[in-house]
């Protein structure tokens, strides 16, 4: 395995191990996050000029989906401010090593919720309301505030970061796609963990807290649930934790073996296509239906949305793989072959996001100069005209992303497929979906 251990570089290691750099970023992020809530609630209702809409759904989203997820996996989770207040409440401290007595209920999340179905549902809920959410500052402000308060509430009830791990609508798909990222946090030597007494990386020690993500690093084989919070680097008494640079999509060689994760792949895959159709397509009726939450048309849209994601896409996929024979059960093959949709799904999102990010990026400058829409001009860019950026490279870049995604998925299908079984149905499925996406985008 060709990996480069980044934590060998003393500067990186020290930066990650110390709490202060991360805390500094956290505080800046938290201030920005709260400001975005306020701007959403008291700023102009005109989405394109409201800081919360522009910074969350254009700037943050662009950084997340075009940079953070593809290159740093759960890098965003490492600096996301949402868990900060809840964790302070839960631990009774910001920095100080924990005393063992729990401050609050500290319950274990019930087993039936220890999967990502809740994340699938929370993402879908936001997705169904997304046309209103993405354009209405008030709703964005309320949703951002709600996430912060729910995270605080769950911290008081459950142990560790229950919100991040089981409920965060964003965390679910970041986890799914973080498997493709060229960054990983892993142990160096398994035997060291086996012999380690007390497993402070999971249980905490004087040096730090037990894994907030409820993961035992010693058993970790995929990025999915590692939040890159670096707590285990601080707690490991054997210096056995490494952050590695690795080939893209290294985790995808290990196929998905859970239905919630398999469906997450379909949810994200389908949602990207539906969004491309609704937000970028020329169909006014569809846009209206998606936007007018609560109306009959919207309910129709919601039913169709869910049907595509839960019936049409998985159904056609199942029909495809049924045409080939294999030793594994159909369910097992469904789950493992769904892994092939992960890179293509990510590239669908990249291609889709390029469209609206480049189209709307010029709003960022205006919002930066007048974040509360009070007529300021802090950086002289308040009146920057709306101007789509890089329009000439948009279509080629999107096409490239989709083609890369298709090839990547085809290779993933071959990797995860059991020997001797044809992957042609999966590749055809991906090809057809890519063609539809290409048609929707171009």
């Amino acid at each position: 395995m060709n990996r480069i251990e980044l934590t060998r570089i003393p500067f990186i290691k020290n930066t990650l191990k110390s709490r202060y750099p991360q805390l500094a970023v956290f505080i800046v992020m938290l201030v920005g996050y709260i400001f975005a809530i306020l701007a959403g609630l008291i700023g102009t209702p005109v989405g394109s000029h409201n800081f919360s809409i522009v910074f969350v759904w254009i700037a943050w989203w662009a950084i997340l989906i075009l940079v953070a997820v593809p290159f740093f996996g759960r890098g965003w989770c490492a600096v996301c401010p949402i868990p900060l207040p809840g964790e302070w409440l839960q631990r009774g401290a910001i920095l100080a090593p924990p005393d063992k007595r729990p401050k609050w209920l500290n319950l274990r999340v019930p087993k039936m919720f220890r999967n990502i179905w809740m994340q699938n549902i929370s993402f879908l809920l936001l997705a169904l309301f997304s046309s209103a959410l993405l354009t209405t500052p008030n709703i964005t402000g309320i949703v951002l505030a709600a996430m912060l308060f729910v995270a605080i509430g769950l911290s008081a009830i459950f142990e560790r970061r229950a919100f991040c791990r089981y409920l965060c609508p964003v965390g679910g798909f970041i986890g799914l796609y973080s498997q493709t990222a060229p960054i990983e946090l892993r142990i160096k030597d398994k035997q060291v963990c086996v012999k380690c007494v007390g497993k402070p990386c999971y249980n905490g020690s004087d040096a730090g807290y037990g894994c907030p993500w409820d993961v035992f690093p010693g058993g970790m084989t995929k990025n999915t649930y590692c939040g890159l919070c670096m707590e285990c680097i601080r707690t490991c008494p054997h210096d056995n934790i490494a952050v590695n640079l690795r080939p893209f999509s290294a985790d995808l060689a290990k196929p998905t073996a859970r239905l919630d994760e398999a469906f997450k792949a379909f949810i994200m895959f389908g949602a990207a296509m539906i969004y491309a159709g609704v937000l970028l397509g020329p169909w006014g009726t569809l846009k209206d239906a998606a936007y007018n939450v609560g109306t009959g048309a919207w309910f129709m849209y919601a039913v169709i949305f869910l049907a595509i994601i839960f019936i049409v896409l998985p159904g056609l996929f199942t029909l495809g793989i049924m045409t080939t024979k294999g030793r594994q059960s159909l369910k097992q093959r469904f789950m493992s072959l769904s892994t092939a949709l992960i890179p293509l799904g990510l590239m669908f999102w990249v291609a889709f996001s390029l469209s609206f990010v480049l189209t709307n990026a010029s709003y960022i400058l205006a919002a930066l100069s007048d974040p509360l829409a009070l007529g300021w001009n802090l950086f002289g860019t308040a009146n920057a005209a709306w101007q789509p950026m890089l329009t000439t490279i948009l279509a080629p870049a999107q096409t490239l992303a989709l083609v890369v995604g298709l090839v990547w998925s085809a290779r993933t299908a071959q990797k995860v497929n059991e020997a001797g079984t044809s992957t042609i149905p999966v590749i055809v499925y991906c090809f057809v979906a890519t063609s539809i996406m290409l048609w929707l985008l171009l």
């Binding site: 202060y20 505080i27 938290l30 400001f35 102009t44 209702p45």
Partner: protein, 331 residues
């Protein structure tokens, strides 16, 4: 508690307080006047206080589409208000009174309802004993006791557009009262019937009427009326006066729902905007009657009240222009 922990906590709390407090403080310090389509609330606030002689600084923003801002009966250039942007304007009022500000952009079907008032106080030397500003003159339609809601169609209409040039050729000694009062208080049809004792043919009588109307207006007045019409009337009544403006279909579709829901208006039937090219409608209306309709509006239609916005002179200019849809004037 160790120092780093304490400092961390202080930093976080300061950050949170700053992130919450600073925007709220700055927001509260900068009162904006929000413009929304009338359906969504119009102006907020819609009553503004001011004092005579003191500059009134206003910051206006739109919460939805492009709106405009102007104050009625005031010599000022209207300003545009763009969505999410702030437009600043400074006004100074010489006289106390209640001024009406209004939207100058065709922002939506109920654009005309987007109005607010500026209550200007002060300047005690101008306030009269009654406490109000200068006494308003009684509009002509009131002193003439005209029922501006009654039907007033002309029972006779000309076969072709009456020509003021032809009317002029008939000579100046026509038995028509040349006074301004006569013109203002008579409809073209009434003048036409007043000419019944003459030996003129029907079309000659209409030409004479056209001439009377032309001689009571000026090219400047017509030009000014045309401009006011294009800005304020054409949205409903149509650019060419045919009652087919961009909102006409929407008004018809909205039906009664778009009417003012005042008591007494309920038994009236929603009408589409008047067609000024329809001779029976316009030739049956006197300038005084049209003045009343423009001043007061209503009539059970979506017609707004313009009395607070146009000056008297502007209304006469508009009326002169409205008649020009019926008459052929000298170019």
């Amino acid at each position: 508690m160790k120092r780093p922990e304490l400092i961390s906590r202080i930093l976080i709390i300061t950050g949170i307080l700053l992130a919450v407090g600073a925007p709220l403080f700055l927001w509260a310090r900068t009162p904006l006047i929000h413009a929304r389509m009338a359906e969504d609330g119009g102006w907020n606030p819609d009553v503004i206080q001011a004092e005579t002689g003191k500059p009134l600084h206003l910051k206006l923003t739109s919460d939805d589409v492009v709106h405009g801002f102007a104050v009625g009966q005031m010599d000022m250039q209207s300003v545009d208000i763009l969505p999410g942007k702030v437009t600043e304007i400074t006004l100074t009022f010489d006289k106390p009174g209640i001024y009406t500000f209004f939207c100058t952009r065709w922002c939506g079907l109920n654009h005309w309802r987007m109005r607010g008032t500026i209550e200007v106080t002060g300047g005690s030397d101008i306030i009269t004993a009654g406490g109000s500003s200068e006494p308003a003159s009684v509009p002509l339609y009131v002193s003439l006791d005209l029922d501006i809601d009654a039907p007033h169609d002309s029972p006779v209409i000309p076969n072709e557009k009456p020509s003021a040039m032809n009317g002029q050729l008939l000579g100046a000694n026509l038995p028509i009262d040349q006074s301004l009062d006569y013109y203002l208080s008579h409809s073209p049809y009434q003048v036409f019937t007043d000419l019944s004792d003459t030996s003129l043919t029907e079309s000659q009588k209409w030409d004479a009427v056209a001439y009377l109307w032309q001689s009571n207006t000026t090219p400047e007045s017509l030009a000014n009326g045309k401009e006011l019409y294009a800005q304020n009337c054409a949205a409903c009544h149509g650019e060419n006066g045919a009652g087919d403006g961009v909102f006409a279909d929407d008004l018809a579709e909205a039906g009664e729902a778009s009417m003012q829901t005042m008591e007494g208006a309920t038994d009236m039937v929603m009408q589409t905007p008047v067609d000024f090219t329809d001779p029976s409608r316009i030739l049956g209306a006197s300038p005084a009657l049209l003045q009343g309709k423009i001043l007061r509006g209503g009539m059970g239609t979506g017609m707004p009240m313009w009395g607070v916005i146009f000056t008297e002179e502007q209304i006469w200019d508009l009326i002169a222009y409205i008649y020009s849809f019926q008459f052929e004037y000298q170019k």
